[in-house]
């Protein structure tokens, strides 16, 4: 096209008098696309520079251990079994807390989305309680539930509950009313409208909420384990920090990051499977 424009410059098309010039192209940009490998290449570059800075002695390894030292620490943790021990505690707390918070959040979110009474009461409570940092409630929950697993799980469940409930009722609100009226016009019963229209219509928002609540759960499990736990990735990171074992500390951080990535990947898979129609 550009070639043709160049060759045509100054010459008239057949049947047109006078010189012509091509219309300049103004439609470039504003369509960013991530390259397939650019992210990985940038990550590798940063890790390489980081390793170089450590190996060359530009930074003190006590303050910033090299990627190789961190990888070695992860390997040691894995073969000693400590990694799996800590990870299993964290996964149990996240899994249980997330499940409880999600189930309660979905039920309350649907109630708020479908019932005027629940909406009137529920939104007021959620608006008042959602902004409270849930970790601030941990000491109170320890008083109520004891010093075992319950207060940590309850903290995670509370954090997950609010973000889930909000994403669920927002999703229900976002279902086009025309679809609900269509179903009503065919005398489809209420439960079937919820199951076949509202649930799939709200699912994109619900899955987006799962992504947020998984991050909230990860944040809260680490915080809770740092405050009152012997085992768990959060407790391990805190202990390593207290002992100035920064390679172990960053190993814990890397494991948390990988865990977060794995959860994100799982939600991506769920979205691909359940929202294929989008």
């Amino acid at each position: 096209m550009l070639e043709r424009a160049k060759t045509n410059r100054g010459r008239s098309p057949p049947g047109v008098d006078g010189d012509t010039r091509p219309v300049s192209f103004r439609g470039a940009g504003f369509t960013p696309k991530a390259g397939r490998w650019s992210g990985w290449l940038a990550l590798l570059l940063v890790i390489g520079l980081w390793q170089l800075a450590g190996s060359a002695g530009w930074v003190n390894p006590l303050f910033l251990p090299t990627p190789v030292a961190i990888a070695r620490a992860i390997w040691q943790l894995a073969i000693s079994g400590a990694l799996w021990h800590h990870l299993s505690y964290s996964i149990m707390r996240i899994g249980t807390g997330w499940m409880l918070g999600t189930i309660a959040g979905v039920i309350v979110g649907f109630a708020i989305g479908l019932s005027s009474l629940a909406r009137g009461v529920g939104i007021t409570f959620i608006s008042a309680l959602f902004p409270i940092p849930k970790i601030a409630l941990l000491p109170l929950l320890i008083l109520w539930l004891g010093i075992g697993e319950e207060p940590k799980i309850a903290t995670i469940a509370l954090g997950v509950f609010f973000s889930t409930a909000i994403s669920v009722y927002s999703g229900v609100d976002a279902v086009p009313r025309s679809l609900i009226r269509m179903a009503q016009s065919f005398n489809v019963p209420f439960h079937a409208i919820v199951r076949r229209v509202i649930w799939p219509g709200a699912l994109p928002s619900i899955l987006a909420g799962f992504r947020i609540s998984a991050s909230v759960a990860l944040l809260l499990v680490v915080s809770a384990e740092m405050i009152g736990a012997e085992f768990g990735i959060g407790a391990f990171v805190l202990q390593a920090g207290n002992l100035m074992q920064t390679d172990q500390l960053l190993a814990g951080v890397v494991i948390l990051s990988l865990f977060g990535l794995a959860v994100g990947r799982l939600i991506n898979l769920l979205e691909t499977r359940l929202l294929h129609w989008r």
Partner: protein
Amino acid sequence: MDLIADRISHRFGALEVLDNVSFTVGAGEVVAIVGPSGCGKSTLLSILGGLMQPSAGAAELRGAQPPDSRNPLTFVFQDFALLPWCSVEENVEFPLLHRALSVGERRAVVEDALRRTSLSDFRATYPKQLSGGMRQRVGIARALAVRPAILLMDEPLSALDSQTRELLMEDFIRLLADGSMGAVYVTHNLEEAVRLADRIVVLSRRPGRVRDVVSIPMTRGERGEIAAREKLLALQSQLWSLIREEAIDAEREVQHA
């Protein structure tokens, strides 16, 4: 089975939308409702179909429901109202899922509706993959699947381009030809109204009142003939003269709102 609008009035808060609207749609009859923008045509259709309750008056049915009808009053929506997560076949099947039908019977009904709307080859396609005209065909197939006595059509062609509109208009004429199904057809397009309707109810500007009822003195079959064109154009002009001044006022009102 007749559908009767019995002195229907409706207001949204302080805004009076419909005032004492009465007319009857007889069995197999097609009644178009026309009027200026904002005169309450769609609101009236929602009330007739039981999706809204009027402030006063009532929508009533007279006579027995046809024995094979699964949903006597069935809507065809302007925005198609298709479930985007369901294929064409699943959308057509949707209103049948809660009926006392065996899987085989249900499949046969869906198959018949898809065949009548020339959608058999698109059964596995999702709405987002279809053009506007094809989506409306799915909406029509879904309506046919429940064997309605009266179709309630809310500007079903207004979201479509003129060629698609023409093709679907031919489909409507074909589907309504045997007189087994009546229709209430809300439109702002007078050409559609005179081509399809047996009678045209002309509503006034808001609050909508019945200003006139115009009968079309020829069959739908005759309207396709070249000789009928002049008569239809004259009818269109007659209708336009009825609503022109009010349409201009309504347009000004919308601009100032």
